[in-house]
Structure formats: structure tokens, C-alpha cells
């Protein structure tokens, strides 16, 4: 039954450190337990290493359901508490449309088109962020 399916990688999602920023690349289909593990790993790494930002590249993710959506939102909230910012980068159109239809607009989440754009966003001083960032209050 399982032939032909790409076997998801078990264990940890690699977390890469680039200067002040942690880069996480999610790929393919994740076990729930891996997402939880990542959440834990990230907060430990942040509190240990004093990074100022986390970029989660999800351009290789084909589906975000409410579980993964919640994990992303929680990671963002956690890093905020640790005085760092999280940017989710590269969400595919089909994934975004589906999330909105599902009812999850994740209003608190910072987003960027690409990891590069996310890095730029994190390089900016903390002010009410621009496009691609947290939603501004309309005047």
C-alpha cells in the first residue's frame, strides 16, 4: 500500500543559524510529532542563542491544515515572548487559498514572499511593519 509514497523524514526538522536569524525549511509532509518537536527545539534554541528572528520557509509545503497552522502561530507567539520575530515565507497560492477557506487567516503571523524577503523584513528595525508583515490598522 505504501509503495510510491514519499516517506516523510522522521525525527527533527533541521534548524540553520544565519547570523542573528534561525532558518527553518519545512519540506513535504510532516508528522504531527515533528511539528511539535520543532516548536520545542526553536524555543530552546532562541532562549539559548539570543537570535532576533526566525524564518520558516514553507515553499516546499503542499498543505497547511489547522494543526500546522496552529503550530506556526504558536511558534510566532513564542518567539515574540523571547524578543524575537518569526516570519513565515513562501506559502504557495493553493495553500493560502485553502487556509482562508478553512477559516484560518492567521492575523498575527508575519509573512513574506520568499526567504530573502523575510530576511530583509527582519533586518528592518522593529516598527509597525510594512507589506508582507503584520497587518496594519487602516487609517
Amino acid at each position: 500500500m505504501s509503495e510510491g509514497f514519499s516517506r516523510p523524514v522522521a525525527g527533527h526538522v533541521p534548524v540553520l543559524r544565519l547570523g542573528d536569524v534561525l532558518l527553518v525549511t519545512l519540506q513535504g509532509d510532516l508528522y504531527d510529532s515533528m511539528a511539535h518537536q520543532l516548536q520545542q527545539d526553536l524555543s530552546e534554541t532562541i532562549s539559548r542563542s539570543r537570535v532576533t528572528g526566525v524564518v520558516i520557509d514553507i515553499s516546499g509545503v503542499e498543505m497547511v491544515d489547522s494543526f500546522l497552522g496552529r503550530v506556526l502561530a504558536e511558534i510566532a507567539a513564542q518567539t515574540e515572548l523571547l524578543a524575537a520575530r518569526t516570519v513565515v515565507a513562501g506559502m504557495r497560492p493553493a495553500v493560502a487559498i485553502t487556509l482562508v477557506e478553512l477559516g484560518l487567516t492567521l492575523p498575527g503571523l508575519r509573512t513574506a514572499l520568499t526567504t530573502e524577503a523575510a530576511m530583509e523584513l527582519l533586518a528592518q528595525p522593529i516598527v509597525p511593519s510594512r507589506a508582507g508583515g503584520v497587518r496594519e490598522e487602516s487609517p
Binding site: V88, A89, G90, M91, R92, P93, V95, A96, I97, L99, V100, E101, T105, L106, L109, T111, A112, L113, T114, A117, A118, R130, A131, G132, R135, E137, S138
Partner: protein, 299 residues
């Protein structure tokens, strides 16, 4: 499917007609090949027309065998539906109306009927009448099947065109590096909104656009459904890391929206496409200034 011996004249009139068609398949097809319907559709060679005719005669014989002469869903027709559709479509393309195509199909009856009557020579007049009736019912059903098939072809064509129209009606324009826009014209229904959303978001990825402008100047009405779709598009764009601006909400529409209690909420809106572009450029760090106080470009 009842077995039939080729020379048989037993059984019901329908079965008799079936046996006749099987026996005379070649002759019927030869005669049909001279009828306008076959002559004009199969232009490569007369043989081609005869072959096509034989396929239809075989199908009719099969239907007659199963005694379902008045049933357009009879299994025997399945094999020739595609061919009938092709013939009907060819005639429509030649400019014939449905009525004319139907008349051409009706013209296929007399040649077969003549053959049948000749074949039944010497039999009881009552029997002959029953058999010709069965045949004309069968041919009527064939006509029905052909028209049915043609109609579903038309439906399929309409559906395809509808889809094409949806795509054509949604051009995404790159206004500047990092800024794309869709000028929407005409009524936005749910299907079209879906296409707009997908097309715009694809363009955001392809063009690395940080800004997407939805210009609704050409949209006559905005009801709650449309407003909902606009908000969904904006929300999806934001999840991808782009900002979506809605421009061109005409005063009348603004009024209706207020009346309906529609709230575009957190959606960024601008009066005109120009204002929206100005806003996006400003956000990208490029400011537009008028060269002179009375200079051109005042909006």
C-alpha cells in the same frame, strides 16, 4: 442479445427489421452515402461515407434485435454516438440550423424504407406495415439520439468557452517591479471570483509582487458574496506575504456597501487605480511628486 440467422423472417417486426438491416447493411450504406448528410460530412472518399453508414446500420440492427426501437438509451447506440456527434457538429459548422440537420437525418428513412418494402415483397400487408412502422420508429429514435448527442456537444462547447472567457477576462498586469494589478470588468460571480483569486495569486508568485491591486471600477455591483471573495483574496495574499489593495470602489457601490452593512474590514482600499499605484510605490520606497504645482498628473 438474441441470435439471429441472417435469412430469418421470424420474430417480432422489430427483430425482422433487425435481420433486414443486417442483411442489407451494405446496400443501405451505399444509398445513404449519396444523401446530403453523408456526402457533405465524409468528403475524403465515398468509401469513407459507406463505412460510416455501415457502422450506423449495424448499431440500428443491434438496437432492433433487442426490441428497444423507441429507446434512445438502448445500448446499441453507444458505439455510434461519437460518430453521430461528429456528423452533427460538421453540419452545424457548415451553417445548418438544428432543424435542418434534423431534416437531413429524416431524409435517411425513405431509402431504407424502400429497400425494406422490396425485401418484404409477398408478405402479408399487415406484416409489412408493422415492419415499416418499426423501422420508422427506429429511425426516429436515431434522430433523437443524434440531436441529443449534438446538444450535449454544444453544452460541452459552451462550458469550454465559459472557462476560456473566465481566463481571458482576468488579465493580470504588471504595473511596476513588484506591483501587479487585475482590472475587473463585469459581474463577479463566485466562479469568476475563484479564477480571479487564483490568477492573481499565481501572478504574485511569478512576478515576486509585494503588492497586488484589485481594481473594481468596472464591476457594476458588489454584494455580500463579492465582498466576501475580495476579503478572501486579500487574506490569501497576506498569507503569502503580499499586500492586496482594492481600488475603484465607485460612490454608488460604496453607498450600497454601507447600506448592506458590508465591511471590507481590514482591506486596504483606494479611490482609483492611480491612487492605489501611488500607495504601493510609496510603500516600496518610490515617491511620486508633481514637478510643478499646476503640472500634469493631478488626479
Amino acid at each position: 442479445m438474441p441470435e439471429h440467422d441472417t435469412g430469418g423472417t421470424l420474430g417480432t417486426p422489430a427483430q425482422e427489421v433487425g435481420g433486414f438491416l443486417r442483411r442489407r447493411s451494405e446496400q443501405v450504406a451505399q444509398r445513404w452515402a449519396d444523401e446530403p448528410l453523408f456526402r457533405t460530412v465524409f468528403t475524403v472518399s465515398r468509401d469513407e461515407a459507406v463505412e460510416a453508414g455501415k457502422a450506423i446500420v449495424d448499431a440500428l440492427a443491434h438496437v432492433a434485435d433487442t426490441q428497444r426501437v423507441e429507446d434512445p438509451d438502448a445500448a446499441g447506440f453507444t458505439g455510434v454516438r461519437e460518430q453521430l456527434a461528429r456528423m452533427g457538429a460538421a453540419r452545424s459548422r457548415a451553417g445548418l440550423s438544428a432543424t435542418q440537420v434534423s431534416a437531413e437525418l429524416a431524409a435517411l428513412l425513405p431509402p431504407v424504407e424502400n429497400l425494406l418494402v422490396a425485401d418484404l415483397d409477398g408478405q402479408e400487408p399487415e406484416r409489412v406495415r408493422e415492419c415499416t412502422t418499426a423501422l420508422s420508429v427506429l429511425m426516429g429514435t436515431l434522430r433523437l439520439v443524434a440531436m441529443q448527442t449534438a446538444l450535449s456537444e454544444v453544452q460541452a462547447l459552451t462550458d469550454r468557452q465559459r472557462l476560456q472567457l473566465l481566463e481571458v477576462a482576468t488579465p493580470v498586469i504588471k504595473l511596476w517591479d513588484g506591483i501587479v494589478a487585475v482590472p475587473l470588468i463585469g459581474t463577479l460571480d463566485s466562479a469568476r471570483s475563484q479564477v480571479v483569486m487564483e490568477t492573481l495569486l499565481e501572478a504574485v508568485v511569478d512576478q515576486h509582487a509585494r503588492f497586488a491591486i484589485l481594481d473594481i471600477t468596472g464591476v457594476p455591483t458588489v454584494d455580500s458574496l463579492v465582498a466576501q471573495h475580495l476579503m478572501k483574496t486579500v487574506a490569501a495574499a497576506r498569507l503569502m506575504g503580499a499586500e492586496c489593495v482594492v481600488s475603484g470602489i465607485r460612490p454608488a457601490i460604496a453607498q450600497t456597501m454601507v447600506h448592506l452593512g458590508l465591511d471590507l474590514g481590514t482591506v486596504k482600499t483606494r479611490a482609483s487605480l492611480a491612487d492605489a499605484l501611488g500607495y504601493c510605490l510609496h510603500e516600496l520606497g518610490a515617491n511620486i511628486v508633481n514637478a510643478a504645482p499646476d503640472g500634469a498628473g493631478r488626479r
